[in-house]
Symmetry: D2
Subunit: 345 residues, 4 copies
């Protein structure tokens, strides 16, 4: 913490700040400048709460220096964490495709889609049994019936399955059926959900919220790790900005940044990031090239009849194209090689 | 729904779209234009899902015409809804101040604050027993102990109390102690919470999310109303934008807009909207002048020692000033007079 | 400048940074922390360029401490600057209304509007002769013919006139006809225009850009002041955010902030800030209550026939209402009283 | 244009709107709906101005249907435009690297950089002689001296050169020295500059503004094309959002969208889009994979001593790596093949 004093602050005011820092158990270190003084807070192990200092007489502002997250940081854990979902490794040397329809549909159709995406290169299956929907009048998901279908996908098709949980009440039920749990963008700051998922023994796929800063997102992951669950996969899916030509603004800049500052694996969901089927493959390519450990792609054998999000769902032929793209893209130098300094340079 | 055809679309493609509209049970009405054709969907009672139409050959885009919300609309309910919390009316002809510390603190201190804010003009008390916090290492609220204290505030000080619920598990418990429940900004799209609060017989104060559009916010209120709870109070508390000089960007434009299109009462929370104590009173004035039905103001007898959000918490003397401001501001013409056409003109 | 070292930085790397700071002519002051070291740069009079330091081995990041603006700061100029336009004072103890149509129209109609807005309480007249338009196919303004009309307004109606300049070539011509020049939002960072307006002997009304941060906006004012023109009036007109229910998001939080950190007067333009006629008066009230020194309001005797921006142009009767509102609002305590600490508290 | 009537609008009000449409020279077509009526405006060749209609009694809102841009649209010009700068083709089947330092530096150093980037695969050289800078106290570029150096680069090194123009006064001078002119992000809506560049016989590289929507950006290109200059290259360089971990938010979603709706070539500038040297190569890869026709990369033989933007400037070795990346990425299917339907599917 650095306390910046006002230009016209008095020596007494500076002493007052130093005393307050000492009362907090830390050591003040004054730094005289050309036209104002700054006072460093030293001796703290954790971020200092600025509240007690920022309102003292003569103080202009307080600047935080220590990063608030610890356990998710690559500084404390230099090797990339590999999260295993079923027999699939996320965070290793191969980008992983997770595919499936937005919602679980009928059993027959869901299994047919799973077979098709597996043939097209997907290593994991994802579909929603519980759907958070903007309108109370929209389809809300099949619930437990959907979970039963997902388990059949796993058993019959042989793909690990991941599905979203939207409330604490259905976590235990969902765990019986799926291999990994997704926290959706709307629930990134649902701390009640996070605290319970921190106690779960299965991997969690954590989507970034529509208004989530990079630091907030990592702090949410910190909730999970500090609560006991280290099997966390981050997932960028676009943020909300003024830019209205796409459903969201896919912020691919986070991919090399996550790989630089955190040891957690990072996925990208171009389906929500773009929102338009015909541009999904281009953004899948971009995501892989930026260094993501995998893709989440809404895929359907007959996209226009999807139960939800039909506009952004691609067909199986396109998914096959994406698999071919990945074969080429993994030829890029050091795409997953530099564990401790992962941004290529 | 209006289906815009591409310039180079063929007559067959137009027929295809018309057939699809008929299969949905609606009536197509083609509108030939100078250089392209549009096809109106008529006969629908509810918003039409564009998924089935937007992907048909020759279609450029689909434009929604019907507004997705119904029960919250002033078109179906011309008079402003007055929500009663204890004996306090929100939405009537007098702006209401709701004040209190960010978090419930010790019983003695909390009651002292409540006495002081009552003297200063507050009509309702608000403090958090359950706190959603960005960092897992921050103070998380006193829980039930805090609720007990809130009930003592109501009984001893005589102010109705409102407090935030952050998970479904504690709704019933919270209902035993408080007069109204708050849905915080982070939980605006926590549909699990919303569906349960729709069944509650007490008023709900619904904060706008950091990335919530106006329409999404009203749709969330629609969840509550369509689920059975008509005692909903909206609350603007700032949104997240590039503008980094304040904690959030307080979007006061919504105040006259809510009053124009919805019958629900609208509050403003300038504490979170600005994030800096010394600018809170100015924004309280602005909010009242824009037509808000009340204010939510974080207030403390000793702000710099607040358990949380000290930077944005004002002292009691400032709250008294805000009460005096309101006495002047209610002199503005038609501030709450034009029920059916509330934006002054 | 504060240089934060990585946790794993070596003593040699710290020495390297200290040497680099000395080579820049400044004095390094190391601040050892619990788990990392920071090195303060001291002895600088101006902001330090981080480029030379941020890339040195072992450096995590550089944090700027000194504010980049000087002449616009209230720290160096404690009294609010009063800018005089004709015989009208902006920044004094009375909020000023500046009104007029978006574009200069025919002479007869423009003069009729000017007479009407004067009767309704406006103290200054504003209309555009040169219009920056999003579409090349839209009306681009009357040019010099418009300027001639503006001068007639001044001579016949007796209101000082202000008009926008969009290019350096027409500055001299415009100066012959008007009392103050406006820099529009689109040109906030048109440095070529700014440098020439810094040499002008007439007041400049500087609108905030759609993506302009508070600091950038003050830095643009700094261009004008450091170039020799101290008659600068700031004007907030809304910024661009995801919030799509209004034309722009009016960021009233800047009003008390400008008054706190700068000595320049601040206006608000609710017409662009809202974009919808029926909500303009509500936001005018809010702006005045927040402490603005005046309003810019697009007004017309027959709004729906305006040459441009008809949707956001109010009629003269509404402007009269705003004048009555101001009579009430100036009753607020210390609305313009606290020059050196202007945010009311 | 579609005029939506209020639910409670009367038959007379509908007739009034129809009459107004006829007075504008167009044909009204009423579309009765379940609970409200819409009236289509037909017979217009250009976008209809909503001003005259939106304020009529009974009207709820007006929805534009016709796209405002024409000449930049792929609908009217199905083949991608190839813009030739010197002997380099932008928009063809090979992605082009444009590199150089942020600012022109000394002649010797600038030529040395140019030689180095040419060896590393760059096909064009870019450096700024006139620099728009946020602070009046920052380095403002070398001006004509810089242009002279750029011409020497072209003559001695053999790379076409591009440089930014920031004011109309220096356009003619700049044209004597360079092969293409850049419009910077800050000047995207500097219409005075745009109108003059529309008359120029050299290619224009048009950067997207920090708050520029996709449609506004294309409308700016429309200014250039409709004014007579068809040699326009678009360039995405990041927009301003709440996301504060990178200098800007690089909006790669526009790349497939530009290729879908416009025939103009599209470049990406990851240097500004990220703002941090160590993440530039990752985003260059992403940009190429998304389908950009080329890259603008700030490169220097000794980045940390750059005159400006040192933090985002890469070294020559990294540029060589990007060239190797492109060799792999052009192996992607149909990267530039589908001229008339360019988003891969």
């Amino acid at each position: 913490m650095l306390v910046i004093m006002r230009k016209d602050s008095s020596a007494d005011q500076c002493s007052g700040v130093e005393d307050a820092i000492r009362r907090m158990g830390f050591t003040p270190l004054p730094v005289p400048g050309a036209d104002r003084t700054a006072i460093c807070v030293t001796g703290n192990r954790d971020p200092v709460d600025s509240a007690l200092l920022s309102r003292l007489p003569g103080v202009l502002e307080c600047i935080a220096v220590t990063r608030p997250y610890k356990m998710v940081s690559r500084e404390v854990h230099p090797q990339t964490t590999v999260v295993q979902v079923g027999d699939v490794k996320v965070g290793g040397s191969e980008p992983v495709i997770i595919a499936g329809p937005c919602s679980v549909e009928t059993e027959a159709r869901t299994i047919a889609i799973a077979e098709a995406v597996k043939q097209a290169g997907a290593k994991m299956f994802r579909a929603g049994a519980y759907k958070p929907r903007t309108s109370p009048y929209s389809f809300q998901g099949l619930g437990e019936e959907g979970l039963v279908t997902l388990k059949k996908v796993r058993d019959q098709v042989g793909l690990p399955v991941v599905s979203e949980v939207v409330e604490t009440e259905t976590i235990d039920l969902t765990l019986e059926y799926v291999d990994a749990l997704q926290i959706g963008a709307r629930n990134m700051k649902n701390y009640s959900l996070l605290k319970k998922l921190a106690k779960v023994r299965k991997p969690v796929l954590l989507k970034r919220g529509l208004a989530g800063t990079f630091e907030e997102w990592l702090m949410v992951a910190e909730y999970l790790l500090s609560g006991g669950n280290e099997q966390v996969i981050l997932c960028e899916r676009g943020v909300r900005t003024f830019s209205d030509h796409s459903r969201n603004t896919l912020d691919l800049n986070v991919v090399p940044l996550v790989r630089q500052v955190s040891h957690l694996p990072i996925l990208v969901d171009p389906s929500h990031g773009v929102g338009k089927r015909e541009r999904v493959r281009s953004m899948c390519r971009a995501a892989i090239a930026s260094g993501t450990h995998g893709l989440l792609v809404e895929t359907h054998t007959d996209p226009s009849t999807s139960y939800s999000d039909a506009d952004q769902t691609i067909d199986v032929e396109s998914l096959r194209g994406i698999s071919r793209d990945i074969e080429i893209l993994v030829g890029l130098e050091d795409l997953f090689g530099h564990e401790s300094n992962p941004a290529v340079a």
